[in-house]
């Protein structure tokens, strides 16, 4: 560790940068799940598997000394193929079965990464470490750049998703599929194709989140892709509000905030009162209680889904006709 080095940054800012980076990575995952479950009604319980694909692809490519961009692209490609392989046959079955299939698939991925030396490094149970700092920067600059990079990524993904969902017919078809698949079929749209595209976009985003985790946190362990983490993303989406991208980002901030504050408590509470294991257990218990409370009392989340009005569509058409200036306005409006 570079603790001995003199730090130019205030420790609190340093800490906040770290927490901020966590929040942003979870926000990417929450946006991905929101596209799949919130807008399309595809309950992906194996989200963390796709994240794992991106993370391990990037990490093993970097360890080989190849450009990480190749790893990121490779991760996305594998996630796409895997996502299609899972969803294409599974897309017609009931949502509970879909959830069980995706969680089993994610577990298969985790077990492979835990045992294959070719992917998981020399000691696959421990994961891959020692990913170099970004752009060969020093430790502090790495933290700052990571945060800014993630912020940029989240903003871009958010804007793109908002555009796809609210300004393109595609998004309206997704929501229609969630509400009534047969009606969509009657209108001559193929729900399977739309679901497949939505799921794949989500899988690619999740894989990208994994890549970003490896680049900014400099390592990945098999425990980092336990099913438990998928459920943490779920509570972010449920709490924030399914079908509301602003809401799920807020959910990511709240849940990650709770988790990180509990982590920090470890340094202030004496071990005789609560040891670090008990603090982690307590965190999970709180998250579990939150899930149950949200399902019972706030089934639609804190920020409810925004209804699309007819005038919204008119505005979209008007903006598109205005040329490039209108397009920019369209991107920023949602």
């Amino acid at each position: 560790m570079e603790v001995s080095r003199k730090m130019a940054l205030h420790p609190i800012i340093f800490l906040l940068l770290g927490i901020g980076s966590f929040i942003l990575i979870y926000a990417i995952l929450a946006l991905s799940l929101n596209l799949q479950q919130g807008y399309t009604g595809l309950p992906n319980f194996g989200l963390i598997g796709f994240y794992g694909i991106g993370a391990y692809a990037t990490a093993s490519i970097i360890v080989q000394g190849i450009n990480p961009i190749i790893g990121i692209i490779l991760g996305m490609l594998i996630a796409t193929v895997f996502g299609i392989a899972i969803t294409l046959p599974a897309i017609r079955i009931r949502e509970i079965y879909f959830a069980i299939i995706t969680i089993a698939a994610a577990e298969i991925i985790r077990i492979i990464f835990r045992n294959e030396k070719a992917i998981g490094g020399e000691y696959p149970q421990l994961g891959i470490f020692n990913i170099p700092l970004l752009f060969g920067l020093d430790y502090e600059m790495h933290k700052i750049i990571s945060f800014l990079l993630l912020l940029l990524v989240v903003v871009c993904i958010y804007l793109i998703l908002q555009f796809i969902i609210y300004s393109m017919p595609f998004g309206r078809v997704l929501k229609a599929i969630r509400e009534d698949e047969d009606a969509v079929k009657a209108l001559g749209k193929d729900p399977v194709r739309y679901k497949l595209i939505a799921f794949t976009i989500g899988a690619i985003i999740a894989s990208f989140a994994g890549s970003m985790w490896v680049l900014t946190q400099r390592g990945i362990t098999p425990d980092g892709i336990m099913p438990l983490w998928t459920f943490m993303i779920w509570i972010m989406v449920l709490l924030g509000g399914m079908g509301n991208n602003k809401g799920v980002i807020m959910g990511a901030i709240l849940i990650t905030g709770i988790q990180q504050i509990m982590q920090e408590l470890k340094f202030y509470i004496p071990t005789e009162v609560l040891d670090s294991n008990q603090i982690i257990s307590l965190t999970w218990t709180i998250i579990g209680i939150l899930i149950v409370l949200v399902i019972i009392f706030l089934p639609r989340g804190v920020l409810k889904e925004r209804k699309v009005k007819g005038s919204d569509i008119e505005k979209t058409i008007r903006n598109v006709n205005r040329g490039i200036k209108g397009w920019i306005r369209l991107l920023l409006r949602n």
């Binding site: 069980i100 294991n277 709180i286 998250i287 019972i296």
Partner: protein, 303 residues
């Protein structure tokens, strides 16, 4: 090693493990059939029972090993059943009254599983808990070795299943449960106290899971950790779905088949010096294939 002995050993191990898994699978399939709930906290009920059982067992309050074990099993049964009933009141009942959709019920059970795991880990820590005194007698069956306690377990489980069969088919409460699984509203109209029957359901489902956990913890040399629940859960789902979800006999047979697949593939993998953990992949692939191509399960029935 002689291949015959090896196969006998695999079969015996599968029967012992399978009977414990069948005990859990029955609860999961009943809950699914009657409440339309894919209970993700079922594995955690097993772990909770296991911890209650093993902690009492290792305290050796009573000098007699057998009596000590039996009391710890009863304690595990009671405590887990109480926990399951508590969570039904706290979470599932309000959701039931609101007619929440199955996915929401399932996510609520997920939250409950995280709560139980957190509590278990909070109280007993993340380390392995195992028996302080191993079971002594080893029996030799055609060259394959098995603890005498494991034979007792298998017969006890068979006795429990026979009891359960009579309970569900011959008694009033069993008939009531079957009526609710067909239609809750109709059952209510015909004067069945549905809430009371559902409490009874959770006592059976939770109690069996806890009992199975306690037995597992007191006879398994591997012991138990808080994470055991989740790994187990997917196996139980595989068993239940394989044997047609909602079908009790299917769940029992499914449990034996899934464990047989797991044991044999783990055995073959270790012979080929591949990580035995890959046997889990085989089981999960079976689970996925059954869900994709025969979601109503091998034994037909209601899906």
């Amino acid at each position: 090693m002689d291949i015959g002995i090896l196969i006998t050993q695999w079969l015996l191990t599968s029967i012992v493990r399978g009977s414990l898994y069948a005990l859990i699978a029955v609860g999961l399939t009943l809950v699914f059939r009657i409440l339309k709930l894919a209970n993700f906290s079922h594995g955690e009920l097993f772990v909770f029972g296991a911890y209650i059982g093993i902690v009492f067992f290792n305290s050796f309050w009573i000098d007699n090993v057998i009596l000590n074990a039996i009391i710890s099993y009863f304690l595990a049964f009671g405590a887990t059943a109480a926990l399951a009933v508590f969570f039904d009141f706290a979470a599932y009942k309000p959701l039931r009254n609101r007619d929440a959709n199955p996915l929401m019920l399932m996510i609520a059970s997920l939250g409950i599983s995280i709560i139980i795991r957190g509590i278990v880990q909070f109280i007993w820590g993340p380390r392995v808990q195992k028996y302080a005194k191993p079971p002594q007698e080893i029996v030799d069956i055609g060259g394959a070795l098995i603890y005498s306690s494991e034979i007792v377990v298998v017969f006890a489980v068979i006795a429990i299943f026979i009891g359960l069969y009579f309970l569900l088919t011959k008694t009033k409460i069993g008939t009531a449960l079957r009526a609710i699984s067909d239609s809750k509203d109709l059952a209510e109209i015909s004067g069945i106290n549905t809430e009371q029957s559902i409490i009874f359901l959770w006592v059976i489902a939770g109690g069996f899971a806890g009992l199975s956990g306690a037995v597992f913890a007191t006879i398994s040399p591997a012991g138990i950790i808080p994470e055991s629940g989740f790994q187990l859960l997917l196996f139980i789902f595989a068993a239940v779905i394989f044997g047609s979800i909602g079908n009790i006999y299917g769940a029992i047979i499914g449990a034996f088949i899934i464990i047989l697949v797991d044991t044999i593939s783990a055995g073959i993998f270790s012979l080929l010096s591949i990580s035995a953990e890959y046997s889990k992949i085989i089981v999960f692939v079976v689970l996925i294939l059954v869900l994709l191509f025969k979601p109503q399960g091998i034994f037909g029935g209601k899906s």
